[in-house]
């Protein structure tokens, strides 16, 4: 009987064998896989010193939930640029920032609530879920590219899903069900691999927005502003002081050609905007952020100026190298130090 279905069995068998081999390889390289689960990462500098863990859900130095007197808690609302799972945790800028501020004699605890792929909306949700328990004093917002990607999919790729209310604050995703074949397929290494390899090729076939269309830019700007206003309002509801951080990129000038590897990485994240269009939108987003900051009386910490246009500090258009993380932390510490001292004076 089975011989009749030999073609189907061979197809499924080879797919299963291929997936197993890919998962084995991915697991050995430190990735989470469907069969082998979470990777066994190199142990951090000292056991239990860094999160995330069940008791401390942040990728930064572990701090007790109960506040110490005199400490300033800094909440980082960001994404992969601050989480950077491929970097040792000691080397990412939120941890370096805490180290640097402490070295300058300031008593701070950094709560790095950042995760790859998160947008401002997701940051708001996390702030709402965890903010009350952890009572931050400052909320540092360093977000841009994920929001632009999402807004581009709504405005530029609108034919894909014209009615989707993409600006609604998303509900927590339901726990993945092992019985849902689509979810299982999407968790496979083969799927991930092919999406990342073929995705840019498919994306290249689409006409891309160059960021010069006033109508789309105005709509995108309005959405960016609404998102920044949302995170500021949320921070204030918790009694924290929101601060926005300017967004740094390797090649900020839209006219400047991008190296192929940078362009490919950008396309993987956003195939609807050309590399020129993406950079125009980052400028647009920066202008919107500053407009909101001025209207809301919120400071913008000028960190990007020290890193912008220095590709040696970036692994792609917006993720840092170890040197980039270090410089970013130093620059942010410079911006924060006088404000923290003034704040400490006020408290006294």
């Amino acid at each position: 009987m089975l011989a009749r279905y030999a073609v189907i069995l061979w197809t499924l068998g080879l797919l299963a064998a291929g997936e197993f081999a890919l998962e084995l390889r991915a697991s050995a390289r430190g990735f989470r896989t469907l069969l082998f689960g979470a990777p066994v990462l190199a142990a951090p500098a000292s056991e239990g010193e860094f999160g995330p863990s069940a008791r401390f859900p942040f990728r930064s130095r572990v701090a007790p939930r109960e506040r110490r007197d005199g400490v300033t808690r800094i909440w980082i609302a960001s994404a992969s640029y601050a989480e950077h799972v491929r970097m040792p945790v000691e080397g990412i800028w939120p941890v370096l920032l805490q180290d640097e501020l402490e070295a300058r004699g300031l008593d701070v605890e950094v709560l790095n609530a950042s995760q790859a792929g998160w947008e401002l909306h997701r940051s708001v949700r996390t702030l709402r879920e965890l903010g009350e328990a952890w009572a931050p004093d400052l909320v540092l917002v360093y977000q841009m590219s994920n929001d632009l990607d999402r807004i581009a999919s709504a405005l530029v790729g609108r034919a894909v899903d014209p009615e989707a209310d993409l600006d609604a604050i998303p509900e927590p995703p339901p726990p993945p069900s092992d019985l849902d074949p689509t979810e299982v397929a999407r968790q496979t290494t083969a799927y991930e691999l092919l999406r990342s390899k073929l995705g840019p090729l498919v994306g290249d076939l689409r006409p891309q927005c160059n960021g010069r269309e006033p109508g789309i830019n105005a709509a995108a700007g309005a959405r960016v502003e609404a998102r920044f206003r949302g995170v500021i309002a949320c921070g204030r509801e918790l009694g924290a002081t929101p601060m926005l951080v300017s967004f740094a990129t390797a090649y900020p000038d839209p006219e400047q050609p991008l190296p192929p590897e940078f362009a490919a990485a950008l396309r993987r994240a956003n195939s609807l905007l050309s590399s020129e269009g993406w950079r125009r939108w980052v400028r647009l987003g920066d202008e919107c952020m500053r407009r909101v900051a001025e209207a809301e009386g919120v400071p913008v910490l000028e960190v990007a100026t020290a890193l912008d246009g220095r590709p040696e500090l970036f692994v792609d258009q917006y993720h840092f190298t170890p040197e980039g993380h270090h410089l970013f932390a130093m620059q942010l510490a410079n911006e924060l130090e006088p404000r923290l001292r003034a704040r400490a004076e006020e408290v006294r």
């Binding site: 894909v160 999406r195 498919v202 689409r206 006409p207």
Partner: protein, 469 residues
């Protein structure tokens, strides 16, 4: 559960293997396929499975009653009951809101501000397909062209057979019920050919239809006010090949799946854009629907047996209703009327050509003309309102400069056209050579690679166009 989804990749092998295990137990196989078909349908909306079950029970019962009666008036009444029930369901779910809107507009136009009630029911997937399928049974039974089906299981399976349940081909009772009545043997060769056909359909769907939609069609039709004229025109050409690849791809998967189970479904497409006139087009495009309309609507209306005016009326009525079958919207109605007009002119032209022996035009020119006439119809089919139709026409006539379409996307369109115009025999022979001549492990390796390729290239929004009908 789309044919191009991970769910189907799991569902199909499980059904095939269970079906294989039940060899020589036809009743068991029928129950298995019936359960699988309802499971398949309920993956969209479990509640609407009751509609199919209702249609099934009604037509099964009416069919039995019709077969038991020799009284012509009673048989006719039973037929009318079947038509009323099935078309009534279709009217409620598919057309009620359209006619309520139209009535409201008409009343407003004459100065009456009346609110006509609407419903908020979702359109059941595939209702147009299975309704026509069950109707073919009662009509053929009434005409005494087929025998009554005494087994409820077999009849229910005929109505709900999952490979063609939601988007055809529309299978006649006379084609399918005899297959259910005789024991089916599934041979390795059938499975190999079926799998090859499934992958042929998937390639058409994912690599041609979805990519053309994402790269040329959707961007053009989403920006009718500002898109360059060339993009609008390319978008329309691309749509012609998108809808062909999408729908014929679905039919390929349906036919291939049925073949793996030992059943044969009718062909639904035959290189439609090679037609030399619109009449020929309708013998090559959605063949199961056009032949259904011919046999159950056009011919009963009188066909071409009456006067020229009566034939024109019959043609127009058939095509307008055929247009409305696709959807309750003005553009589908216009599309049907447009094809009705084309068919009327085509008949007239053929008659004149016959009388005056017009100089022979080249086949190529005839095909080009026919293709562009059909293309005009696709514009009516693709737009979502008359306003959009006006915007497209304005966009093209304004000769807006520039072109946003990427060269690679235009190349894809050219490839899609080349694939369509490749002689069918060539493709079929290559497919057969592969499925019959290559060892199973090699075929498995190729298919596994294709699964990965298709997973990687599948876009998030990739439902088949004809599911909405």
């Amino acid at each position: 559960m789309n044919f191009n989804s991970a769910e189907y990749l799991v569902f199909l092998p499980v059904v095939l293997l269970l079906h294989g295990l039940l060899a020589r137990r036809e009743r068991g196989r029928h129950w298995l396929l019936l359960a699988a078909s309802y499971l398949f349908y309920m993956s969209w909306n479990w509640q609407y499975a009751s509609l199919i079950a209702f249609s099934t029970f009604v037509d099964y019962g009416l069919g039995r009653a019709m077969a038991a009666s020799e009284d012509g008036r009673r048989r006719r009444a039973l037929l009318v009951a079947s038509l009323t029930t099935n078309l009534g369901l279709l009217a409620v779910f598919k057309y009620f809101n359209f006619f309520a809107d139209s009535a409201e507009s008409a009343l407003t136009w004459v100065g009456l501000d009346v609110e006509v009630p609407h419903h908020r029911l979702l359109l059941p997937v595939g209702i147009s397909f299975y309704t026509f399928q069950t109707l073919s049974y009662t009509i053929d039974l009434y005409r005494r062209q087929i025998e009554v089906e005494r087994s409820l299981t077999r009849f229910a399976l005929f109505v709900s057979f999952f490979p063609q349940l939601v988007a055809g081909p529309i299978v006649r009772a006379s084609e399918f019920l005899p297959q259910l009545s005789s024991p089916r043997t599934v041979r390795a060769e059938q499975v190999r050919r079926g799998v090859a056909r499934i992958f042929r359909g998937l390639l058409k769907k994912v690599l041609i239809a979805d990519l053309l939609a994402a790269t040329l069609v959707d961007p053009a039709f989403a920006n009718l006010e500002s898109a360059a004229s060339l993009d609008l025109v390319l978008g329309l050409y691309a749509y012609a090949f998108q809808i062909y690849a999408d729908f014929s791809g679905y039919s390929d998967i349906a036919i291939g799946t049925a073949l793996c189970l030992g059943y044969e479904l009718p062909e639904n497409f035959n290189r439609p854009y090679l037609s030399r006139n619109v009449r020929e087009f309708w013998t090559r495009w959605h063949i199961s629907l056009s032949s259904w309309l011919r046999d159950y609507l056009y011919i009963p209306l009188g066909g071409n047996r009456g006067s020229q005016r009566r034939t024109s009326f019959n043609l127009m009525t058939t095509m307008v209703l055929g247009g409305l079958w696709h959807g309750a919207a003005a553009n589908f109605l216009l599309w049907g009327a447009y094809h009705g007009l084309l068919l009327m002119f085509s008949r007239g032209a053929d008659r004149r050509a016959g009388e005056h022996a017009a100089p022979a035009r080249s086949v190529l020119l005839e095909r080009a003309i026919c293709f562009h006439l059909v293309l005009g119809g696709w514009l009516l089919f693709r737009v979502q309102s008359m306003g959009q139709l006006g915007e497209w026409l304005r966009g093209v006539s304004e000769l807006r400069p520039g072109m946003d379409a990427r060269p690679a996307a235009v190349l894809l369109l050219a490839i899609a056209a080349a694939v369509h115009f490749t002689p069918r025999g060539l493709v079929d022979r290559a497919q057969e050579r592969f499925s019959d001549g290559f060892p199973a492990p090699l075929q498995g390796a190729v298919y596994a690679a294709l699964v990965l390729l298709l997973c990687g290239a599948t876009l998030d929004t990739s439902a088949f166009i004809y599911f909405q009908f």
